[in-house]
């Protein structure tokens, strides 16, 4: 029994730790979101070239950054889980994927919204948008693979391999798409390229970046908690929680 307790200690203690951290991050995320949107929509001046449409960057840029960053973080945790057989890190990777995919989708969606007034079309095969689309495919691949495997241990390991293969490939894909784009003389204006950015614009954007960060942490912790409960559902400590009516 002693050895069992040791094995389950990590997820069990993390479960309660995460429970304490979630409200904290949620509140900060909400506060930053309100502040960032306020700056973005009311304080920041109208751009003299792009008019009001540029304000989409307050959502688009943080989303695009998060989408790429989260993939790397996901691959990192998945890799740790594969190398050291630590189950919590694999659960972390699984929890990150949907949030990463959400931000990727958001970046695509806002990019396309921005494209309509700027380029006159909803979609342009711009290098960044295309890379973002491929990133979405990679997230979907990771999630579908894990969903197709019943055995959680195999799902963790298989997911880790595909995430690591993906992370090695991302620079290659990005570079290929850049090359392809210049070869085909596609759109020359890219979404994030603002000629001169007023300092309030930059502030608003950074606030929104931090808001996304905090939101991502809160949501991922919440999801990890659910995954822990699911995986440990037949252990003593979960039974104890259930008895107390903690969830």
């Amino acid at each position: 029994m002693a050895i069992n307790w040791y094995k389950y200690a990590a997820p069990a203690s993390f479960y309660s730790l995460a429970g304490k951290m979630i409200p904290f991050f949620t509140i900060i995320a909400f506060g930053l979101l309100v502040a960032g949107l306020y700056i973005g929509f009311f304080v920041a001046p109208t751009d003299f070239q792009q008019g009001e449409a540029y304000r989409i960057i307050f959502i688009h840029v943080p989303a695009a950054w998060m989408s790429m960053f989260l993939y790397v973080v996901m691959a990192f945790w998945a890799g740790i889980g594969l190398a050291f057989n630590t189950r919590l890190s694999s659960m972390m990777a699984t929890a990150i994927a949907p949030t990463g995919a959400l931000f990727t989708f958001l970046a695509l969606w806002t990019g396309s919204l921005w494209g309509k007034p700027m380029w006159g079309t909803w979609w342009v095969w711009d290098a960044r948008l295309t890379s973002e689309l491929i990133l979405l495919f990679l997230y979907i691949g990771f999630m579908s693979l894990q969903a197709a495997i019943d055995d959680p241990r195999r799902a963790d390991k298989a997911g880790a391999i595909i995430a690591l293969v993906g992370v090695i490939n991302i620079p290659i894909i990005y570079f290929s798409v850049q090359w392809w784009n210049t070869l085909h003389q596609g759109a020359s204006v890219s979404v994030t390229q603002a000629p001169t950015m007023a300092s309030t614009m930059l502030t608003g954007m950074m606030v929104m970046v931090f808001a996304s960060w905090m939101y991502a942490i809160a949501v991922i912790l919440k999801r990890v908690r659910v995954i822990i409960l699911e995986r440990e559902s037949n252990t003593a400590w979960v039974a104890e929680l259930r008895r107390k009516g903690a969830f």
Partner: protein, 219 residues
Amino acid sequence: MFFWVIQRDLLLAIRRRSDVLTTLFFFVIVVSLFPLSVGPEMNMLRTMAPGIVWVAALLASMLSLGRLFSNDYMDGTLEQMLLSPQSLSVLVLGKALAHWLVTGVPLVLMAPILGIQYDLPMDALFVLTISLLLGTPVLSLIGAIGAALTLGLRGGGVLISLLVLPLYIPVLIFGSGAVEANMAGVGHDAHLSLLGAFLLVSLVFAPWAAASSLRVSME
């Protein structure tokens, strides 16, 4: 032992010729569908040809990936391979190479004929063939990872395409790019060198990743 694996897979492919031919005919049919769907206008077809041939090659190579490990998985040969004193990566490399010889090489040989249907000039046909020659082994190698990960899963065939197709994108870009560059007269050397680089990188990493995937899937 590496050669035993290749020899065995080739022998099996010869005994089951129909499998090889289905992949090849799939390739031919897909390529032939495009003129029917977009119209027989020769100038347009000529510009589209490299992309069409390459996408069809991608799909054909991917379709046959399901068989790469699944037969050996079902009859227990894969267990024996895992228990071989030879490193599993070497055996996987052998299997990927055999897969390429059986599915990739026929595509490479067929491509110039299909290119003629699209009125590609002689030079471009040559570059198309070379680009496929360099690119299709990469498809087999990367595909081996996907095939190993989806081994024995329900819906494995569709899943494999989700996993593998995004990873094929660089090969697609530079493969068809080489032919387009040749036709545009801007030189195709850089494209082909990069394809060669992809081939080297995947020769080193893919067998290893696929071997780890197999161990995970066989647990």
